[in-house]
């Protein structure tokens, strides 16, 4: 198959396909205004409820036909959170984002973000007109899971609100070349190959305790925490900025996905060679000071997704094998500078039920397994998290009430979310919600035990 593709490429005559636009297309410009307000405790000592977020954002989208079958799409967002507790001061984009993917900060709490900017269209290649190319800043999503990140590894995430923000807002769009090409007919089905080249060296943006960010992780599972046995002064930990990769070719990510609909199963096979989105936090002692010096590492990811329908149930799953991942070790002297390297296997299985009218019930089981485990690693060999989502529509689907529960079986902690969404008018949606964390502070969810919040908001499209 690879040889066949190479042969086709070598004789490719790239001409613009004239007949691919199914609709014809026209210039389109639209805007969305979104208010998001949250109330919670300011800190552990605070007994009262205060405003912890007051965010207003305008998102503008422009679709511009360029020439037959090709279009330019841009999406900008002007956002202002005057409470400035989520990303205090000017966020440190330069530490994790490439020059081309940084936001433009007007002041401490207002920024402009180019969320997407790409051209796309069809080209004739190797005798087929069905070759789709999208070049520019964009989001590409792999995988079948909701809320869990197994194969959704193409774009980095901004974890400024942990997992409370919508995925679309959490994901950081990056500059890439995205091609989707016919890959032949196998097992009676047409396969599509997606090929990605991602030269944009942008990585996960995690809020920092140094900035007293509201959702800065503090669990030893995610940040090195010096204990009483640590040489030097544990209170004087210094974090040195990671040396972020910035070479166009050798630091690029490369990915391929093959997907098809085979015998009522949607399946995909995925491969990604990439820089891990979270830097490994290497630790050392220098002049009696505890030093954390994160470094970005490369890894291979091989995975698969599958889903099918059985009567009222949809079964879906993902499996990802990582050639190397880097875990925090309790005793940094035992491991190479406090980081343990191991391959890992992540899986998620989901079952959706549609048997009741206007009701959606979805359960998921997420397992993360470290294959070369050592007791010094600050998490268990196998980490197990389950989720349950129940949503019901009322009044001809204008009102949706939902509840979602995440539970980590290893630490016994979790997150409960309740939401209400009312479509008041065609273009106006009003929302309300409650996010409640519980459990031990060392846990994925329990570390935000003090960050419970009530949310209110509205969205206006115009």
């Amino acid at each position: 198959m690879k040889a066949h593709a190479t042969k086709n490429l070598s004789r490719a005559a790239i001409v613009v396909a004239l007949c691919h636009s199914a609709t014809g297309f026209a210039l389109d410009f639209r805007n969305t205004f979104e208010n998001s307000t949250a109330f919670g405790k300011l800190d552990e000592q605070d007994d009262s409820v205060s405003s912890v977020k007051f965010s207003n954002a305008i998102t503008s989208e422009l679709t511009l036909p360029i020439f037959s079958g090709w279009q330019l799409f841009t999406r900008w967002r002007l956002e202002s959170d005057t409470r400035d507790l989520i990303e205090p001061n000017r966020s440190q984009d330069k530490l994790v984002r490439s020059n081309a993917s940084r936001r433009w900060h007007l002041n401490d709490y207002t920024s402009i973000d180019l969320r997407e900017f790409y051209i796309d269209g069809y080209i004739s290649l190797g005798g087929s007109d069905n070759n789709f190319i999208r070049i520019g800043k964009q989001q590409v999503v792999w995988g079948q899971a909701d809320g869990f990140r197994v194969l959704d590894a193409i774009n980095p995430m901004n974890l400024r609100e942990f997992i409370l923000e919508d995925n679309d807002d959490r994901r950081i769009p990056t500059w890439m070349v995205n091609a989707e090409l016919p890959a032949g007919n196998w097992w009676g089905s047409d396969w599509t190959a997606q090929v990605l080249w991602i030269p944009d060296t942008t990585y996960d943006q995690t809020p920092s305790l140094r900035d007293e960010a509201r959702f800065a992780p503090k669990s030893p599972r995610f940040v090195p925490v010096p204990d009483a046995n640590t040489p030097g002064n544990p209170q004087s930990a210094q974090i040195i900025d990671a040396d972020k990769p910035n070479r166009i070719i050798s630091d690029s990510d490369f990915g391929v996905r093959l997907n098809a609909f085979v015998n009522s199963w949607d399946i995909s096979i995925n491969y990604l060679y990439h820089t891990l989105d979270r830097a490994a936090p290497y630790q050392s002692i220098e002049n009696s000071a505890f030093i954390i010096e994160p470094q970005y590492e490369r890894s291979h990811l091989l995975g698969t997704t599958f889903s099918s329908v059985f009567d009222n149930f949809t079964f879906r799953g993902e499996v990802a094998l990582h050639s190397a991942r880097y875990y925090i070790a309790k005793d940094f002297s035992e491991f190479s500078e406090g980081v343990a390297e191991s391959p890992s296997v992540d899986t998620v299985f989901g079952l959706d039920f549609n048997g009741f009218s206007d009701t959606f019930i979805s359960g998921q089981l997420f397992l993360s397994h470290i294959t070369d485990f050592d007791d010094a690693i600050t998490r268990d060999r196998t980490d197990t998290t389950v989720s349950l989502l129940i949503e019901r529509d009322f009044y001809n689907q204008t009102l949706t009430l939902g509840g979602q529960w995440f539970y980590n079986a290893n630490d016994g902690d979790g997150l409960l979310r309740f939401s209400a969404e009312y479509r008041w008018r065609s273009n106006i949606i009003v929302t309300a919600g409650l996010d409640s964390f519980y459990g031990k502070e060392r846990g994925l969810f329990g570390q935000f035990n003090q960050q419970d919040q009530i949310t209110l908001g509205f969205t206006v499209g115009f």
Binding site: H20, N130, D266, D352, S357, Y395, N396, S426
Partner: protein, 276 residues
């Protein structure tokens, strides 16, 4: 709010329809020797084109008179006996890009395959097709009715020709459809459906529905029918749910049966790429 010019028309239509249904004896009879089943076979045999492109405007009005408008772009194409449909939302902004792809197989034993693309998730989700009696995206029509496009699944019902009927000044044939068993009745949500079929074009111009408890549930009126590219096409449909007082109006525009639609439009990658 309903457009002011429509209110008296709809009111009159409902009056005429109910009167027509109840007092068919007062109208000239439409002689037919066809059975109810034969009439519905004729309805299902009505040509609907190998493919079609069209825009839908869906206007819903709740019991308080609040109106919500959605617009979609839809494509349908036959691949042999298999019917594939894809719908993209174009308005309002907060649902723009939402896509819905269906493979409808001729084998009744095989459920449809359906996929939903939600721009907020940026994922194509496989969804179960078993709830065919559920409301289609908050409208007063079910997934089954949207899929059948003013035709009927013959295997679901027993049909009986009742009498002549009249709808919007056109005489027709009144056919009563009763679900064949309790399971189908529960799936569809109806205990009885009555179709007023226009035998000139073999299309229902007026339909009454009764729920599983035999209460009058909803009324569908075809307000406008037009022959486009030689195919009889409903341009304007009004549905009212008598229990919820919720109304839906479907209007179609830019209907095109001739321009070829590429096969790849009916695929998941296309659904993901969005409306082009």
């Amino acid at each position: 709010m309903k457009p002011f010019f429509l209110k008296p028309i709809l009111s009159k239509i409902n009056t005429i329809t109910v009167a027509g249904t109840l007092l068919t004896a007062s109208f000239p009879t439409w002689s037919t020797s066809l059975t109810g089943l034969e009439i519905m076979h004729n309805v299902n045999a009505r040509p609907d084109g190998n493919q079609v492109t069209r825009q839908f405007t869906i206007t819903t009005t709740d019991r308080r008179g609040v109106e919500r408008v959605e617009k979609t772009m839809g494509y349908r194409k036959y691949f042999g006996d298999e019917k594939r449909t894809v719908i993209f939302y174009t308005e309002p902004t907060n649902v723009r890009g939402t896509g819905f792809l269906t493979y409808d197989y001729p084998n009744l034993e095989k459920d449809d395959d359906q996929w939903l693309y939600l721009p907020a998730l940026r994922k194509v989700r496989r969804i179960s097709a078993s709830n065919r009696g559920d409301s289609f995206l908050g409208t007063d029509l079910s997934y089954e009715e949207i899929k059948k496009e003013n035709k009927v699944e013959i295997e679901d019902y027993t049909f009986e020709f009742i009498d002549d009927c009249e709808s919007q000044g056109k005489q027709g044939l009144l056919v009563k459809a009763t679900p064949k068993n309790d399971e189908i009745k529960a799936e569809l949500g109806y205990s009885r459906v009555e179709y007023c079929i226009d035998p000139d074009i073999w299309m229902a111009r007026h339909i009454e529905f009764w729920d599983t408890n035999n209460n009058h549930l909803k009324t569908l009126n075809v307000l406008s029918v037009e022959q486009i590219d030689g195919i009889w096409t409903t341009r304007d449909i009004h549905v009212v749910n008598h229990k919820t007082k919720h109304e839906t109006r479907f209007t179609q525009a830019d209907i095109d049966y001739n321009t070829d639609i590429a096969d790849n439009v009916f695929t998941q990658p296309y659904l993901r790429r969005g409306l082009r």
